[in-house]
């Protein structure tokens, strides 16, 4: 059976950062991603990121991915990469991991340590006909457009005015697709105000306190009905039919944590982090002594924080494996913890801080 020191599951910003950091201390890393290419969400982010200069604010997401790929390449003697390769199971009895490469190449790996950086899954909401072709998650639309260069349709209803809904609306317009409207159940956009202003001034209406009532169509989406709702989310009776061929759902993400459940990690339901997440110590180790977690899989946040968490998890792993000088590792850890605290400072970070407090343990040693 194949063996490795560190298995990193997921090659998004969190997994890439974990692999780079662990390999920089000499650990032998295997990095697996189910996608055809590495980069996770980053490779479809054509917009400029927020944040501070340290976290590459003002740089487009896919450019940040390119910088990470470069770092990965510099450490290639220590990192073996598998793409189109899904980790499908974890066997608690002996710590063996099962994987599928492509359609049918099935194999096992036995890692000493694992970093789970599996990212997030998109939520969907129930409404009549939501099974019709033409109802997409916002992430899928982004992949189609920005990775494969395919426009999903001609006229879009966006459901949800959080940052993802607003940003994907803007990117749809960049691709020449008409965004007919954005509906938002709350009485206020959930994303950054500047992102909303950006789509508004290009003529896209944002309907607050509205939701999608149903999709119209027989074999595919031929329209949508939206309806107004009150503070208790009950329909007021005001409805409007929109001529659209795409309904794009941007109603939130939830951490991908099946493997963590299989491994028996202690999990908590934390609404602020958008679902079930593994309890972790300061250096991202779960209750399982050989498993770390990082990025959206540890709670829905941002690429900027995912990268720092990945680096912290990578350091936690090398420390446990006995690589590197303890003072050097400690120094780097302190720096990364400071960066995380900066990223999570202020009002916008308050929810994340609360959430993390709910699933953090001081230490797993008794």
């Amino acid at each position: 059976m194949r063996e490795t020191e560190v298995l990193v599951v997921g090659g998004g910003p969190a997994g890439l950062s974990a692999a780079i950091e662990a390999a920089s201390f000499g650990a032998k890393v295997t990095l697996m991603d189910s996608d055809l290419a590495l980069g996770g969400q980053l490779i479809k982010q054509t917009h400029k990121f927020f944040g501070s200069k340290n976290e590459r604010a003002g740089t487009r997401g896919f450019k940040i991915a390119e910088e990470l790929f470069k770092e990965l390449k510099e450490r290639e003697e220590n990192i073996e990469t598998f793409t189109n390769c899904t980790v499908t199971g974890y066997y608690k009895e002996d710590g063996v991991v099962s994987c599928v490469k492509g359609e049918d190449e099935y194999f096992h790996v036995k890692p000493k340590k694992i970093v789970m950086a599996t990212g997030a899954q998109e939520r969907i909401i129930p409404f009549p006909n939501n099974h019709l072709p033409g109802v997409y998650g916002a992430g899928a639309v982004q992949t189609l457009m920005n990775v494969y260069g395919v426009v999903p349709g001609e006229r879009v209803l966006m459901v949800g005015a959080g940052n993802i809904g607003l940003i994907v609306s803007y990117q749809l317009m960049q691709a020449g697709v008409k965004v007919v409207g954005i509906v938002e159940a709350m009485n206020k956009i959930g994303g950054y105000w500047v992102h909303a202003a950006k789509v508004r001034r290009l003529g896209v209406p944002i309907y607050l306190r509205h939701t999608v009532k149903e999709a119209i169509g027989d074999r595919f989406v031929e329209g949508a009905v939206i309806q107004e709702i009150d503070e208790k989310f009950q329909p007021t009776g005001n409805e409007k039919k929109l001529d659209v061929d795409i309904i794009c759902l941007a109603v939130g993400l939830t951490p991908t944590c099946e493997l963590l459940w299989q491994a028996g990690c202690k999990m908590s339901f934390v609404p602020q982090l958008c679902g079930y997440v593994a309890q972790r110590d300061k250096n991202m180790r779960t209750s399982h002594p050989d498993i770390w977690v990082a990025g959206d899989a540890a709670g829905i946040e941002e690429a900027s924080s995912a990268m720092v968490e990945g680096r912290i998890a990578g350091l936690g792993v090398v420390k446990a494996l006995g690589y590197g000088a303890p003072e050097e590792i400690q120094g780097r850890l302190e720096e990364y913890h400071m960066r995380l605290a900066d990223l999570r400072g202020g009002e916008v970070g308050a929810k994340i801080r609360e959430g993390i407090a709910l699933c953090s343990v001081e230490s797993w040693e008794v």
């Binding site: 501070s52 200069k53 003002g58 005015a161 206020k188 950054y192 105000w193 500047v194």
Partner: protein, 168 residues
Amino acid sequence: MDEKEKLFNSGILTGERKGAIKPPKELWETKKNGLVVIECPQRIPCNPCHTSCPTGAVKPFEDINDQPQIDYEKCTGCARCVAVCPGLACFVIDLTWGAEDKALIKLAYEMLPTPEEGQVVDCLNRFGEPVAKGKVVKITEPMKDKTLVVHVEIPKDLVMDIRAIRVV
């Protein structure tokens, strides 16, 4: 909630707010090359407008979540902030430009098709409604990152309305 607040909550600026104020009238009317107009009224973790400003006109942020504050005396209208702001919230407006009833707006443009110098485009207000025609005077790509800064001649009385263009 009143109508104004509702509009604001959907991404339309209604009146001045912290992080979204007009430059002082007198300085603005005489400053060649224009002054920055930033519309970033919400506290968000972002500061490239400050870190990229070559003159220090966007004052240092005490906390990265602060709204931008401006020292107009220092602003040269260079439009670097226009090019870097990820929220496309920075504009430069030059009231000294051209004929008496004209002004120049420098705004970020990331759509297709790309306008050409000399072309007449639709000027849109904050709702995206066309409110005037404007002539494209100049196009630059300061950061060489595909975000264009387009200089458009617009009617002076609409400088606080026009915030986007559509190439027709």
